[in-house]
Amino acid sequence: MDTKIVLDTLWVLLGAMLVFFMNLGFALVESGFARSKNAVNILSKNFIVFAVSSMGYLLLGWGLMFGDGNGFIGTSGLWFVGGADNSPAVGDAYQGVYSAIAWTGVPLWAKFFFQLVFCGTAATIVSGAVAERIKYLAFILFSFFLTLLIYPAVGHWIWGGGFLAGLGMWDFAGSSVVHSTGGWAALAGILVLGPRFGKYGPGKRINPIPGHSLPLATIGAFVLWLGWFGFNPGSTMAADPGAIAHILVTTNTAGIMGLLVATGAAWLLLGKPDLGMSINGLLAGLVAITAGCAFVSVPSSIIIGAAAGLLVVLAVVFFDRARIDDPVGALSVHLVNGVFGTLAVGLFAQDGITGVATGNGLFFGGGFRLLGAQALGVVTVGGFVFAASLLVWFLLQKTMGIRVNLKEEIQGLDIGEHGNVAYPEFLIHKPSYHVANGHGHGGGAAGGGR
């Protein structure tokens, strides 16, 4: 057996396992940021979503994304990864219908599993944004369509040899393909669902709804941080020492800058270094570097991460002011910084820094060419995913309904949807508070203890 194949396979599978583990990270950040009365629901969603994605992506998603076809969609080897394929053969030796990913010399199932965990990530992003009000079944069905159809289409355009790749758009590990796709789908869901009961009062009043466990959220953040070392460096899909070491460091550097800047910004703006904001800051930095981790230098990653840390703080405030109710900050993290990260490639890319011929970005003398391609990608992906997701959400709403009824929402989805409670033995009560920008007691009728 060719040693390179073994090395590449080990690396790809290690990366895939780390990204798989991010499912736990999302489950914990999201459930920690939500109220205990909805914790079982969120854990259940995050627990089943990878199973649903695995089904959707195995069934058809992989085929649409990587099957040979036209610039818009794969048309060969569609079902059950069933097309002809002689992986790990590469280059001219490759014979099969998944030629867009024939550049990496690993077995077909290794390719599949690696791509699957990315697809699963996109789906899991939606979960947090629509939390605390969506029906379990509606979420399952949406995830199925997302991973069966929507994500694979975008993936085809950028990673499957489709038209955006052809136009010179670069997205190394998925700021657009994964994060902004998840983000746009989430935004559509939020708009169709509406805000949680009690989140917005009359006038400009915004009621904060604190999550129930910062320890859970922090565990989740560390797990995601670890997972990203598979997400970005793993996306080489080849054990190229120089590239993976470089990517690991740009990834970590952007993450820590996001964390530091968001913490500092919260400290200055709010007077306190809020841990929830630090967590969002880390994730923002990681999302923002995802597109460019292999294309930019370590100093550039410092700047990108820092900008992401600031952006996420502003975005959280913006979405709240705009009454777009995103319980965990998924839009601020994945959508805003997915878009920013994609554009940042157009600004900071340095041709061939880890061997990939991206051309230079605006700040490195490459002019607007790359930036233009990136912007086009952002707009196209955003337009398509948002529209397609809106459609799916609407269809689900018309047919089965996507939001639990008010009584169930007030009581908590855990009882209504699952017949479980997260902590049956603990005494739990709803904290009562006054809000700075309102009057009266916060949360209004936003629902009682458990």
Binding site: L427, H429, H441, G444, G447, G448
Partner: protein
């Protein structure tokens, strides 16, 4: 002075507090998380294949000590704001209080409320 103990739905706590504030008759209060049952039936749950009904439901117990003169207002507010019209809306119990002391100052009687 009277001690008014009201057992209400947890989700009504904030509304009740707002209304009492507005009525100006609750200078202080004690809030306890209890479980209880009265006419309301329980919540069905599942544990790995077995169904059961949790029949003690979470309630909030509101304890207010008020001047005799404020009792009618408090009752009126509670009866207006607390119910949703279903079993489980709760009850009000009224007791006599013999003495009240403010620990910080040692004041007693109505001045201490």
């Amino acid at each position: 002075m009277k001690h008014i103990k009201a057992v209400i739905r947890p989700e009504k706590l904030n509304e009740v507090r707002d209304a009492l504030d507005k009525a100006g008759c609750a200078k202080g209060m004690m809030i306890t998380d209890i479980v209880g049952h009265g006419g309301q039936k329980g919540i069905e749950q599942v544990w790995r294949g077995e169904k059961y009904t949790v029949d003690l439901l979470p309630k909030v117990m509101l304890d207010l000590v008020v001047r005799d003169a404020d009792v009618p207002t408090v009752k009126e507010v509670l009866l207006r704001v607390a119910p949703i019209g279903e079993f489980g809306d709760g009850k009000i119990f009224i007791y006599n209080v013999e003495e009240v002391i403010r620990i910080r100052t040692g004041e007693t009687g109505e001045a201490a409320l």
